[in-house]
Symmetry: C2
Subunit: 458 residues, 2 copies
């Protein structure tokens, strides 16, 4: 008889781990517990289903429970793991439909609980009509409210990726939308000179942006439902619906209770093979911390792409193979209204926090040859380490066909390239795709000049 | 008094060298000879001006002679350098307008003569109505013929980038277009499994493709004008106009006559700083050979992007600075009808010729998340070295938003990455930009599996 593997969480990380392990070792008994109604779905796709761009909820599901079962996994839906006993090697579970409960033994455990939306500690935050958008069931509930037709005014708290994507989705549906953010520019993981480009695009789309003004309270009506968001400066923003877009934190309560060690960042600590510090326990996805290859620090980055890779790595190792997850460099991309924005490496604030000294360069160019029909504006920012010119971070913002260029710079950072070498790279050129000096190369050239000028002054 | 620098050729390479040198060293006397009517123009943009997508010829000119003169360069237009005397340190020139001639002394010379279209040695190739499209003046002449209205049927000899781009431009103008190529698939610098994707797109656009059938002769009418293209198999393709799209070769006649050494590839040999083997003579652009970083061989790659970089490097060095050109890896991109195609590194044929043994992987995926509106097909091919899995080459073909992904893979090759590390890269992901596993990562995963399977069989 094969080993018994229990997987806690059946989305990207958990389901990938389970599938890979079972694929490699056919006699494994793999039980997957998922408290929601879906497995292996695209959480990142939720805003597009809410807006109607994606037609059905089912389209967001890459693999249904039935498909997983056909591949030999024992998938238990709507069943929540409520406790992990590392000594007795069992998990305690509860059936969310019928209230039943039980225990399930394991030889190896995969902890893939994902993340939970941040909730600011302000009055009214738990009122009805306040939604986090994290799991597919959240999206279902939110969309049901919007479909019911009583919502006219939406206030989104937090202008990060998810907050802005949801804001746009609501705007597409014809609603009046306000986004409140404590920072002076939205998507705070970008530097302000990039964020301001996004600010303009969002306002152009008719979304109200209230900046530099954190939320202070949710005003709750007599019916127990949120009716306005109140900011620190005292503004009262009427709302039929409030969406929290303040980011997420790793879902580690179960791990903490079980004694699975967390890292300094607050995520579950794992090694290169996705093993936790508890014997026979693996972890993957939004709940773990990763090594940032540039800063050397441990960070939690909740992204489906990491969850899939980490799940795959854990599964291969559980299945008797060998694979490692080599860390992250902070790459992210988003489309807000008609603007694309992407980043990789460290922002200015992150680079400072990590102890680096650096120069920066910002260039405005076009996505195609300037004379080519449909050429769109693109802004590229580079952050290069002083003296040696190593690329520490890059940000891109612009219209169509801008942001995916970030991948090239992510690979430069991955390989610790300096801006002097980057400007010589053999990148593709033809008029429908870039000016003869790609914007990325122009930025590298300018960054190199900044590095040299700085050296001269030393 | 400063040094005297003579530049032969005022397009991308020559003009860049001249500008950089003058910018760095204000007392340089810089004379630029250009036999054509334009400086610093985008040859790659010619097809789009012919089709009408680009409105004016002037839009293709990045910098006019007047602008160069304002920056302190002595630009002599329509003046051809007909001889270089390295002993006496002069060039002989001829004014193509008034027939006048003279000599110009130099301390340093920049050889930037570009390339000339390949002309197959077949009967009739020099007839009227047979056009190469290499310099802007060629484009002007070709467009004048098309504008005159007597051309209905165009035959393009050679289905490379330029050939197909011109074919598309003529098709856009409503002409009947046939492309003849000796290979079984067009754009012969790609492998056939990529080329077939292009074949379909070209035929869908109504362009006739005659493949595996080289041109044997141009049939010339009594008026001395080409009237048909005859292929090796005996097909006769009526033509009011014939365009040569067989690629180019470096324009080295002057260099050979002067005793400036050529390399084994047939281009002018240069070192890392773009110095030729003749004292005080520099070269840059389509006429030089470059080091291929992967094969180690010397190659001639005629591309505006290299010409600009090499010209900049030569100019910085002439101006007293220090810069090097680190070589090429064979990156190229094109848009044909609604298909984008790009390559980097070595094709299968090139890898074999360079002595490599390899495995390949081809994946079909989508440019956005599969469920996202507007997701387009994309095919990614990877060629990885046996045993160590180093990426040797990559090709991408697909619809909108496919091909620029090649830059990421170009940088992987530049850094000699293996496909196992590539599949772990932190690339950007959001549904409007890619599936959660970017097609590039899926291809790396599949290539890695192929490397492992191959190792097992060794």
């Amino acid at each position: 008889m094969g080993k018994r593997v229990v997987v806690v969480g059946g989305d990207a990380a958990g389901a990938s781990a389970a599938s890979q392990a079972r694929k490699r070792q056919r006699d494994l008994d793999v039980v997957v517990f998922e408290r929601g109604r879906a497995t292996s779905y695209s959480a990142c796709g939720i805003p597009y289903w809410i807006s109607g761009a994606v037609e059905s909820e089912a389209a967001l599901v890459a693999r249904t429970p039935e498909q997983h079962r056909a591949a030999g996994l024992d998938v238990r839906m709507r069943t929540e793991v409520v406790g992990i006993d590392l000594d007795r090697r069992v998990v305690h579970w509860r059936d969310l439909e019928d209230g039943g409960s039980g225990v399930e033994p394991f030889d190896e455990l995969v902890y893939a609980t994902g993340s939970v939306p941040m909730r600011p500690p302000v009055p009214g935050i738990d009122a009805a009509g306040v939604y986090g958008v994290q799991v597919l069931d959240d999206g279902v509930a939110l969309r049901a409210e919007l479909d019911a037709g009583h919502v006219r005014r939406v206030v989104v708290v937090g202008g990060g990726y998810i907050g802005l994507e949801i804001a746009e989705a609501c705007r597409v549906r014809g609603l009046t939308v306000t986004v409140v953010d404590r920072s002076a520019t939205p998507i705070g993981t970008f530097d302000p000179d990039i964020g301001e480009f996004v600010t303009e695009a969002v306002r152009r789309e008719g979304i109200e942006l209230v900046l530099s003004d954190p939320v202070a309270a949710i005003d709750v009506g007599a019916d127990g439902r949120a009716r306005a968001v109140v900011t620190a400066s005292g503004r009262e923003l009427p709302a039929d619906l409030v969406v929290l877009g303040l980011g997420v934190r790793p879902a580690v309560r179960l791990a903490e209770e079980a004694g699975i060690p967390l890292g300094i960042s607050g995520g579950v600590a794992v090694d290169a093979r996705m093993r936790t510090h508890a014997e026979g326990v693996w972890a993957a996805g939004d709940c773990v911390e990763s090594r940032h290859r540039l800063s050397g620090q441990r960070v939690v980055v909740a992204l489906g792409t990491h969850a899939n890779k980490q799940g795959r790595v854990a599964g291969i190792n559980i299945g008797g193979g060998y694979a490692t997850f080599p860390g992250v460099i902070g790459t992210a991309i988003t489309k807000i209204c008609d603007v694309e924005a992407a980043r990789t490496g460290l922002s200015e604030a992150e680079a400072e926090a990590a102890g680096f000294s650096f120069v920066t360069a910002v260039v405005d160019s076009t996505t195609k040859a300037g004379y080519f029909p449909g050429a769109q504006p693109i802004r590229v920012k580079m952050i290069a380490e002083r003296r040696n010119g190593r690329l520490l971070g890059a940000q891109i913002v612009g219209r169509e066909a801008s942001a995916k260029r970030i991948d090239a710079l992510a690979i430069c950072i991955w390989n610790e390239m300096g801006v002097d070498e980057i400007l010589s790279l053999d990148l593709s050129y033809a008029p429908p795709f870039s000016p003869v000096w790609d914007p990325v190369l122009i930025a590298a050239r300018k960054a190199f000049e900044a590095v040299e000028a700085d050296v001269r002054e030393l």
